[in-house]
């Protein structure tokens, strides 16, 4: 298992020959609240070489559980959100898959990542053997309402993972604008 820092990358398929299926786990601990709480939503978007979403059918989240090509599947549950990626089924025109988490923009107060601590993203095999992990430093994300956790991307025929930890103060709208998601 390798632990990454923001900006670092790790070769997945090159160092693990035969790897064709990974589980991307996104986790966090939120400060408990008896009042309305910030609700975090994990999200995956399949992008082309230009970094734009291929279409809204190439988004995977709790209300669209499988991508159009069935390569990416949302398998979240109560305590840890997981997204399965079958690398062999990812279409060639998908250059990268970006994983982010946004705070649901509820009109009664959306909240931010200030109430979140110990967030992380990890990539594991189908047998749950952890390959890489990125623990996101929480100190820089207090005002963020969306955070890009990391991305899987193609590199010379192989798949690599890059840790990002990039915060957005504009929430889902800001991420959607950058990645061409039609809201």
């Amino acid at each position: 298992m390798a632990s990454l820092i923001a900006g670092a990358n790790a070769a997945l398929t090159m160092e693990n020959p035969g790897l064709d299926h990974v589980v991307v786990g996104l986790g966090w601990d939120a400060i408990p609240s008896h009042g309305p709480a910030a609700e975090l939503v994990p999200f995956a978007v399949m992008c082309d070489a230009g970094g734009q979403a291929l279409s809204n059918d190439h988004l995977v989240f709790f209300n669209q559980l499988v991508s159009a090509d069935a390569a990416v599947t949302f398998a979240g549950d109560a305590d840890q959100e997981q997204i399965d990626v079958e690398l062999g089924r990812v279409p060639e025109d998908v250059a990268k898959i970006v994983f982010f988490v946004y705070v649901d923009p509820d009109v009664r107060g959306r909240g931010s990542f200030a109430s979140v601590r110990d967030s992380h993203i990890r990539v594991a095999t189908a047998e749950n053997r952890e390959l890489v992990r990125f623990d996101i430093p929480a100190t820089t994300l207090d005002s963020a309402t969306a955070v890009i956790f990391g991305e899987l991307y193609r590199h010379r025929g192989d798949w690599k993972f890059r840790a990002l930890g990039q915060g957005y103060s504009t929430g889902l709208a800001g991420v959607a604008k950058d990645y061409g998601i039609a809201l």
Partner: protein
Amino acid sequence: MVNRSSAPRTDLPYLRRRIKPVDPAAAGTASGATDMPSARPPVQPAAPVQSNPAHPAPSASAGLSLSRPSATPSPASSTAPAETADHHSGGLVLGGSRARTSSPAPAAPAPSARPSARPGGLVLGGNTPASPMNPRAQKLAAQREAARVADHEVGLLFAAPGIHDVYELNLQERLLRLTPLESAVGTLVVVGSTAMAWESVRRVVGGADNAGHTAGSPVKTSGNRPLVGYDGQNALITLRHVRELRRAIFINRSSQPMGVRIFSGASVALPPSADGTQMVLLVHRIGNVLELRSEPVPESWEDQQIWQEFDFTMTHQAPVAAYRR
């Protein structure tokens, strides 16, 4: 003659037993042997059994076997183990196929495709392979199946305009449909409604009006917000938990139009009452999309009558004391 007409298959362990010398007299006295066609190809019966993983051919090494090895295995029984299973009534079977060697099995090609060849009860020593699906794979398969069903359900719907295509829902433009993303982000805000009712996927039904009166049961979400409820004068649906919603209805008693707005800022209006008819807004979740409908009802109808018309029957919470008995 039965098992030695071709070169033995040494690569298949279960076929090695078939090259044992066979006493023709024993074969002839075996029950049912007289019905066995003499020209039957020797290896054909077993081949399809091996090719079907759901009914693999029994082998001496497979599974738990509590039976005593047969001293004189008859060729008939060794070639048709699955056929003998027809005579088992479907209870506990110990010993797998080898215990059947003494039974008067009719010799016939192994019927690999016959469902009756599988005993109905617990079989110890049988040959059913372990399920290759681990719990995580099963969960993933379940998710895929759920998504496939949801997509199939949405695929059956007739074409409908989106919220960007419709300015007003009225008697002519009765319906619009949100996308999965529009149905899931933020809050669906209904401005101008005076009463509403909701129903969750667990058939919890409740109602409220903008004066603060409530009926039935609320549906709380994990974010400590109601699934559907009033916030001031606006009625809200918490779309983060849209999968818990089955439907909701919004009634407008005022002289102003009712408006619906989603996270992207897109909105649609419903006209106020006119000519003795009022338009109510019905929000249905179908798979992973929300459908917004305008339904005309007589203006004279009370809220309860409208709820009744659309089959919103309020559920009542049992008093806490009821659980202490």
